[in-house]
């Protein structure tokens, strides 16, 4: 915004690089590292077995032995949460990457070929985008039957149109540029043009969006599981756990309140990483 000028300021400034600055610029990588540890070696973070029933101590409050207490079947809640978030993040990443890939191919093809193919693909995209995404996911999941594959299919189907639209738009803009014409003139096939020449330009925006969408996918996934459409018991899944907790609302506050914090942490992390990628994208174009 325009500012009023004021009198004099010294004209020189110095730059010093120090550890604090490096840390403040690269800390999201540390965040990613922590989550990677949780996903790859959950046993390190949660020594207890998430499936071990213990009917002696059902619905026990948090203690030294059970960090988050136990659920209605006496299972350690902390372990169930750790395994649950691992499941959520893993599946979400799978879904989003899958959707991004499908969307990129479809959007790229539509943008490069134009004509009737473009029109057909875009109408299909429109139909998908006309559904409120959760409702569409519910509809698909209900038709196929609950389970892991279902939610993957349902959510991928919900997510790809967004990517198709975005990539198509970018491809339309990029393909007017001289380097694409040059590649065409040299006889490069369309697929190679898409992969070799256009993809590097699409990647920065794609990666920022993918990491943001992982968070949203986690929310959608847990939402579907909450409704009973996702992973079935006894697989620990955060949404399902929270659904189970609803029946024990008054007696076991830890059961309801604490698992959600894991979801929150996962989603916030994905947003932080996405913001960070976006800032890095912007600065590389400066």
């Amino acid at each position: 915004m325009i500012a009023d000028t004021t009198q004099g300021t010294r004209v020189s400034a110095e730059r010093r690089v120090n550890a604090v600055e490096v840390a403040s610029r690269w800390w999201p990588l540390g965040l990613i590292a922590i989550w990677l540890v949780i996903i790859v070696v959950p046993g390190l973070v949660a020594p207890q077995d998430p499936l071990a029933l213990n009917l002696q101590s059902t619905l026990a409050p948090p203690s030294a032995q059970h960090l988050f207490g136990t659920d209605q079947a006496g299972r350690d809640l902390w372990a169930r949460c750790v395994w649950g978030v691992r499941y959520s993040l893993g599946v979400s990443i799978l879904i989003v990457v899958g959707a991004a890939t499908i969307g990129t191919i479809i959007g790229g093809v539509a943008g490069l070929f134009r004509g009737p193919i473009d029109a057909l693909l875009m109408r299909t995209t429109d139909v998908f985008l006309a559904f409120p995404y959760l409702i569409l996911a519910i509809a698909i999941a209900s038709a196929v039957g609950p389970g892991l594959t279902t939610v993957v299919v349902a959510l991928t189907a919900v997510w790809w149109p967004g990517y198709a639209r975005m990539v198509r738009g970018q491809v339309l803009a990029l393909k007017e540029l001289p380097f694409v014409e040059g590649a065409r003139a040299a006889g490069t096939s369309t697929l190679m043009i898409l992969l070799r020449h256009l993809l590097p330009h699409l990647l920065p925006q794609l990666s920022a969006r993918v990491s943001m969408d992982v968070g949203y996918a986690v929310l959608a996934l847990t939402g579907l599981s909450f409704l009973g459409l996702g992973a079935q018991p006894p697989t620990p899944e955060l949404g399902a756990i929270i659904a189970e907790a609803h029946s024990h609302l008054l007696v076991a506050w830890w059961f309801t309140t604490l698992p959600g914090l894991f979801v929150l942490a996962a989603v916030l992390s994905s947003m932080v990483v996405s913001d960070w990628l976006e800032t890095r994208n912007k600065s590389s174009f400066a």
Partner: protein, 334 residues
Amino acid sequence: MAYYLLRRLVGAVAVLFGVVTGTFVLSHVIPSCPACAVAGLRAGPEQVKAAAHSLGLDRPVWDQYATYISGLAHGDFGISYASRQPIGPAILSALPATLELVFYSFFIYAVLGVGLGLVWAWRDNRPESHLIRLLSMVGTALPVFWFAMVMQLWLGLRMGWFPITGRMQLDPPANITGFYTIDSLLTGNFPAFIDASWHLVLPVIALVIWQFAVAARLTQKSVLEEMRMPYVRTAIAKGAGTRRVMLGHVFRNAINPVITMLGLQFGWLLGGTVLVEVVFSWPGIGIYMYNALQTFDFPAIMAVTVIITIGFVVVNLIVDFVYPIVDPRIRALA
């Protein structure tokens, strides 16, 4: 201008058609054996066949499709597998509850979201904007069903400040609009108004917290972009103060993409309603769908899907109609 509106209308109808076909495919083509669900778990092949026949599931697919489409055109949503009752009336009676919830949520989060977004941009780089940014981030990251439950537990059960289920405790007011809040005011039933409003608080908060951030962030981005436009300099050169520039110039231009977004967000709101209704046992179409899910009641599930999607398409159509009114450039293009 009329051509633009006609094109939008045709587009909406085409999309609706696609949606309806999609739900038909989902409920009749994909499930391996819908009749099995109806006949029950312990049914033998004879009973399954009988069930299939009674529901018309043994007719050719295109025949079923034709019946489905013509039924919808007449407002007939078929028979529920679970209750064996017509779905249409059941949905209709549940609809006002959802509409009331969605209406208040939409209004509050639109005003809150746009307002906060404006403050966020106006006070860029000051503590207020950082606070709003933080709130937005956390709000979007919350699983709406979990947050609803947390409020239910801590504010409802533990503190006793708010009711935890249902729309009302007292007897509902006379049915005029279906909105308990409005109806109670219209019939002068003040205690009912308080009761209904109090029951709305927690569900609406859950939906608002989840959505306001999207509106806020877009408003903020849009306002910041507009602030860089040349006409802002012109206004300042005329001697306009910050308030005039922001409210008189920037805001009216920045609001346009926000209006489109609000239309889209309405769809997400509808999805979130399902989750919130389940948590609060709110008797709307969301919980109707949830119950249908538990019993694999495909016609019911698809009926709700179609209804919600129709609502979404209609809202976006309204946005398409409002847009040219607000932005003269679109009016010219149309």
